[in-house]
């Protein structure tokens, strides 16, 4: 097996936001990490220092001029007790973009490869340090666009979803063990006989909890992916002032991709923790004298992709054909209607707007008060009670997990149908067990002898 390279290659990346703090960290992970940094480090011999130590020295560009690149503190952590379970070196250098980039370039020139987003975490998973649900949480964390989303991801990282899923599995395995003991020890009188009724009750209860979890998935998805948001309206109703207001009122979002760089993405705005991805910002900014027809068509195109529609109307004018067209087109969307220019005499036919009050916001030039009202309307529209931290204790934020929960739920549904048809308990048990297995896939626990252990722990069986 000579053709196999058995090690992962060594990767490196900047793992702090450049230009922000006084110190930046370049992280290097892999079997050659220590040797590789040692080549450009002047100070104690890194290949000989103890693990988990911080070492003072200088980084030297070994090129023609042997320049000192920076004065640095280098942390050496040897496998396996590191985040990736590989050797890790962290170079603490001075935080300017320029210097940090130079340090990274220097490391890359020694043979490291630039890490992809999340690659450190991927290694932690592949090297068996964290379970699947935790590694997904880290990936969500990396992708998380706002603090609220980050919190949901963090919660999951320390296992709150795992905990709920594990509890549900325990309840299922209890029921399963009970069914099994009835089957394998039919004459044993110490176990409750699992009747159709009993199974129905317990299955219903677990299914209800799965439903609740699945409901959080919708919210979780919004927190993670944000809402595709279309700002629509005919020309000159104030779309661009709304946009500017949203963007400039410190709502602009930066994405945080540890390990690489931090980009400012101006089409994301943060409204009370919910990332809104604004569609066609370029189109909105073009405030030239557009013909109404073109403006409306453009708006309709944006509608197609939208989860949320912000429809802007001019309160100081009567409703136009274009307004009515857009009102009709957005009828079935989640929408918030902004009545702009309320400082001018109100001419709009409010009585003709057949919309819930909560989603109707009066504002002038969409100023501060307007965005606050917008936040409230948004919360109402997507989170009923708003995103509270208790709800965040468990939130399904990941498509794989949601799909497994969904499959578990549907297996339980089959259990209930089977019971209704009068099928014997050990037949419907097949789907009960499947539900248990699906849930196990979320946390990566499956099979083993969990069921058997439960059987023997719970019941005094045997001859």
């Amino acid at each position: 097996m000579s053709l196999m390279t058995t090690d992962y290659d060594t990767i490196a990346a900047i793992s702090t936001p450049p230009g922000v703090g006084g110190i930046a960290i370049v992280r290097v992970s892999g079997s050659t990490a220590i040797a590789l940094v040692e080549k450009v480090f002047s100070g104690p011999d890194l290949t000989k220092v103890a693990t988990h130590t911080i070492n003072y020295g200088h980084l030297i560009d070994a090129g023609a001029h042997r320049e000192t690149v920076d004065e640095v503190m280098v942390t050496v952590m040897r496998a396996p007790q590191t985040y990736t379970k590989e050797d890790i070196v962290e170079i603490n250098c001075h935080g300017g973009i320029e210097v940090t980039n130079q340090v990274l370039q220097l490391v890359l020139r020694q043979g490291a490869r630039l890490a992809e987003p999340g690659e450190f975490t991927k290694r932690a998973f592949l090297n068996g340090r964290i379970d699947l649900s935790q590694s997904e949480a880290v990936m969500d964390l990396i992708d998380a666009k706002t603090a609220t989303a980050q919190k949901a991801a963090l919660n999951q990282l320390d296992g709150s979803l795992s905990r709920v899923v594990k509890r549900l599995r325990r309840e299922l395995v209890d029921l399963l063990a009970n069914v099994e003991v009835n089957i394998d020890y039919p004459e044993y009188d110490g176990a409750e006989t699992v009747t159709t009724k009993l199974m129905q009750t317990k299955t219903n209860k677990i299914m209800q909890e799965l439903d609740e979890l699945l409901q959080t998935e919708q919210q979780g998805k919004i927190l993670r992916d944000g809402l595709e948001t279309a700002i629509v309206g005919r020309p000159n109703v104030g779309k661009s002032s709304l946009l500017n207001c949203l963007l400039h009122e410190n709502k602009a979002i930066v994405t945080d991709v540890p390990g690489t760089t931090r980009d400012v993405l101006d089409e994301y705005v943060n409204v009370r923790g919910v990332p809104l991805h604004l569609i066609d910002t370029a189109g909105i900014r073009k405030t030239d004298n557009q013909v109404e027809k073109i403006g409306v068509d453009r708006s309709k195109a944006a509608l197609k992709k939208a989860d949320l529609v912000l429809l802007v109307l001019n309160a100081s004018e009567k409703l136009t054909a274009g307004d009515r067209e857009l009102l009709a087109a957005t009828q079935d969307s989640k929408r918030i209607i902004l009545l702009n220019k309320t400082d001018l005499p109100e001419l709009i036919e409010l009585d003709q707007l057949d919309v819930p009050k909560a989603t109707l916001i009066k504002t002038s030039a969409v100023a501060e008060n307007g965005t606050r009202a917008l936040e409230a309307a948004l919360a109402k529209l997507f989170f009923e009670e708003g995103v509270t931290s208790t709800q965040l204790d468990v939130m399904v934020t990941n498509a794989r997990q949601a799909s497994l929960l969904e499959q578990a739920r549907s297996a339980l549904q089959t259990v209930l149908e089977g019971l209704k048809q009068g099928l014997p308990v050990d037949i419907v048990q097949i789907d009960l067990q499947r539900a248990w297995e699906f849930l196990g896939e979320i946390t990566g626990d499956n099979y083993d002898d969990e069921l058997m252990d439960q059987l023997f722990k719970k019941f005094c069986i045997g001859k």
Binding site: M1, L3, M4, T5, T6, D7, Y8, D9, E116, E119, K122, R123, F125, L126, N127, G128, L132, L176, E180, N182, I183, D184, Y185, P186, E187, Y188, D189, G190, Q421, G422, L423, P424, V425, D426, I427, I430, G444, Y447, D448, D449, L451, M452, L455, F456, C460, I461, G462, K463
Partner: protein, 642 residues
């Protein structure tokens, strides 16, 4: 008087050459020897005592959930157990009749003496099979290949394949209270030197323990207030070869009786726990969780104030009764007090005390899937030697070990049953892949395809294989084919004919709360309704030219009613089959694969799984280990994480 001294024979003599030698004539050894001989191998079966051939040293019963299915699987593969129990049972019961077809289980009370005698007689009559009383002391091994065995009388028997099935004889030690002595089961002679020599050859032996309850004289049991458990009236058999109506009437069967322990019994146990070797630290072998001693039950389930006790007859012309549920190693006098505290046993006369027995096992993960040792070519192990418990588990392994010993000599592919083929497949795969840290008992919950591994379809699943192996006669195979054809044609017919609406059928369905039929309905569809059985269906559709036999009706019904579920399980099997096809090259070096966790790596090195599917079943090998392994195998190298 001069103390008696043991002596040993120094110079072995050549006692003969065979194709297969089987050591031990318990339930594993008997099946192994018969299968090998029937496959044309000159076979020698050695036993410490001819009185112990196919003996049941513990409970006098065969079958029950999973185990009963194993007996039928053994029968379908041409084994003997099913036939013998059909000849020697004194009670037959189908368990779990209120549940689905997947878990119905046949159980027989055996006349244990008749069972032993009948099996011994079959073996004595088998052509090509020699049965001999002997104590095997050592294995003959030349450069990791088995050559034969040597007995304590100096007989050296030679064969290229040896099946070890020594059971609890292997360095057996019996415990009764403070008493401890070297013994095989039921006070038979233990096998000691063989264990010592196996250890010397590098086999890592472990100590397991099990136990048996006291036996009492049935004439001294007071049955008046006990609950009677009679046999079934409706005929059931283990063997395909037994005629349907060749069956004992309920009156001709012998009943079992149910009674209970009580707080007084439990207090006795608590008061004398320090005299139980299980609790005073004397005996530390690993015992089974599913077959606890009464001491265990009282300590572990302190809140229960009674435990069931089944009184089971050990035979027809025999007054010994087995006190099922009171397995114990308490001192003899305490055992008697315990018995006398139980209703119905107030005056019971103790005939044999219960005991705990500790014995050597060879950890079964040292076997390859064909049950051959990874250490010594041609050496097969089966039964309690492999850490299992139960007559049926032993017999199933013995049969496969015998078959594979023969196949190896004939230079044919080994026979490895998949987990979806039968409980025997589940059993052996569990042993080989997971090993066991307690005496292993089959449970239906160990099978992931329980609905496919039914008691009722064991013959359909495995008879073709038995025939191919030459263990099923031509005549029986023809009968089997006929049964198969009848089932298939009726299933086909029920798909094509319809139940037409009419007064009779509509009366029937409305009685069961259903809407009357408007149009015709496909017969199979109609049969799927929970309240319809096959006989009922026949009232509304034309009769078959030749009516189905009861076993055929059973198949048609089960296969129709549970078709959806059966199909789902078959899909699971098909999915797994793809994993089974991903072979792991034998030359693999797990140390070369980066990223596999240490525990997983150690387990993989130890078990050496043959396929990815088997690797996935090893506990300690986690999903990320598997994905790394899978990538390594498929690409011939570890992919970069990219």
């Amino acid at each position: 008087m001069e103390k008696l001294k043991e002596t040993t024979v120094q110079h072995p003599y050549d006692a003969g050459h065979y194709d297969v030698i089987v050591v031990g004539a318990g339930h594993a050894g008997c099946e192994a020897a018969l299968a090998a001989a029937r496959m044309g191998q000159r076979t020698l079966l050695l036993t410490i005592s001819l009185e112990m051939v196919a003996f049941m040293p513990c409970n006098p019963s065969l079958g029950g959930p999973a185990k009963g299915t194993v007996v039928r699987e053994i029968d379908a593969l041409g084994g003997e157990m099913g036939k013998i129990i059909d000849q020697t049972y004194i009670q037959m019961r189908l368990l779990n009749t209120g549940k689905g077809p997947a878990v119905q289980a046949l159980r027989a009370q055996a006349d244990k003496h008749a069972y032993h005698a009948a099996m011994k007689h079959v073996i004595e009559q088998q052509e090509g099979l020699v049965l001999r009383q002997a104590i095997v002391d050592d294995l003959l091994v030349t450069s990791d290949q088995i050559d034969g065995v040597v007995t304590n009388t100096g007989a050296a028997y030679y064969a290229p394949a040896v099946v070890l099935a020594t059971g609890t004889s292997a360095r057996g030690q019996i415990y009764i209270g403070e008493l401890r002595y070297s013994s095989g089961p039921n006070n038979s002679v233990p096998s000691i030197r063989l264990s010592e020599n196996l250890a010397a050859k590098g086999f890592p032996l472990e100590r397991f323990k099990t136990g048996t309850p006291p036996r009492v004289n049935g004439k001294t049991i007071d049955y008046t207030e006990l609950e009677e458990q009679p046999g079934d009236a409706q005929p059931h058999h283990f063997s395909f070869t037994t005629a349907y109506d060749d069956y004992l009437s309920v009156a001709d069967q012998v009943s079992c009786w149910l009674t209970y322990t009580n707080p007084q019994t439990h207090q006795l146990i608590r008061d004398h726990l320090d005299r139980s070797p299980l609790f005073n630290g004397v005996l530390d072998g690993i015992g089974p969780r599913y077959c606890p001693s009464l001491e265990d039950k009282v300590v572990r389930f302190a809140d229960k104030d009674r435990h069931q006790v089944f009184l089971e007859p050990e035979g027809r012309e025999n007054e010994e009764w087995y006190v099922d549920g009171m397995s114990t190693s308490m001192p003899e006098e305490i055992q008697q007090e315990m018995l006398h505290s139980v209703k119905g046993l107030e005056h019971a006369e103790l005939m044999r005390p219960g005991y705990a027995i500790e014995y050597d096992i060879i950890p079964p993960d040292q076997m390859k899937p064909n049950m051959e040792s990874k250490r010594i070519a041609g050496l097969f192990t089966a039964g309690q030697t492999n850490g299992t418990s139960g007559y049926e588990e032993a017999a199933g392994q013995g049969l496969l070990a015998g078959i594979n010993a023969a196949r190896k000599n004939q230079q044919l592919e080994p026979v490895v049953l998949k987990r979806s083929d039968g409980y025997i497949g589940v059993l052996i795969d569990d042993l080989v892949t997971k090993g066991t840290n307690e005496p292993y008992r089959l449970l239906t919950s160990r099978a992931e395809y329980r609905l496919l591994l039914r008691n009722d379809n064991a013959d359909l699943r495995l008879t073709p294989l038995g025939y191919e192996l030459g263990l099923i006669s031509e005549a029986r195979y023809l009968r089997f084919k006929k049964k198969q054809a009848a089932i298939a044609s009726e299933l086909q017919r029920l798909q094509t004919i319809r139940v037409k609406p009419g007064a009779a059928v509509n009366d029937f369905v409305t009685q069961h709360g259903d809407k009357p039929l408007q149009d015709g309905i496909v017969a199979a569809q109609f049969l799927r309704r929970p309240y319809v059985d096959y006989d009922q269906l026949l009232k509304f559709i034309p009769a078959r030219e030749t009516p189905l036999a009861p076993e055929e009706v059973e198949q048609v019904t089960v296969q129709t009613k549970y078709a959806g579920y059966i199909q789902k399980e078959e899909e699971k099997v098909a999915k797994l089959r793809r994993m089974e096809q991903k072979k792991i090259p034998a030359s693999i070096d797990y140390d070369e694969i980066a990223g596999i966790a240490t525990e997983g790596r150690e387990k993989l090195k130890q078990i050496q799984p043959a396929t990815l599917a088997q690797a996935a079943r090893i506990s300690g090998v986690n999903p990320s280990d598997l994905s790394i392994l899978s990538v390594y195998i498929q690409q011939g190298r570890v992919a970069k994480t990219k």
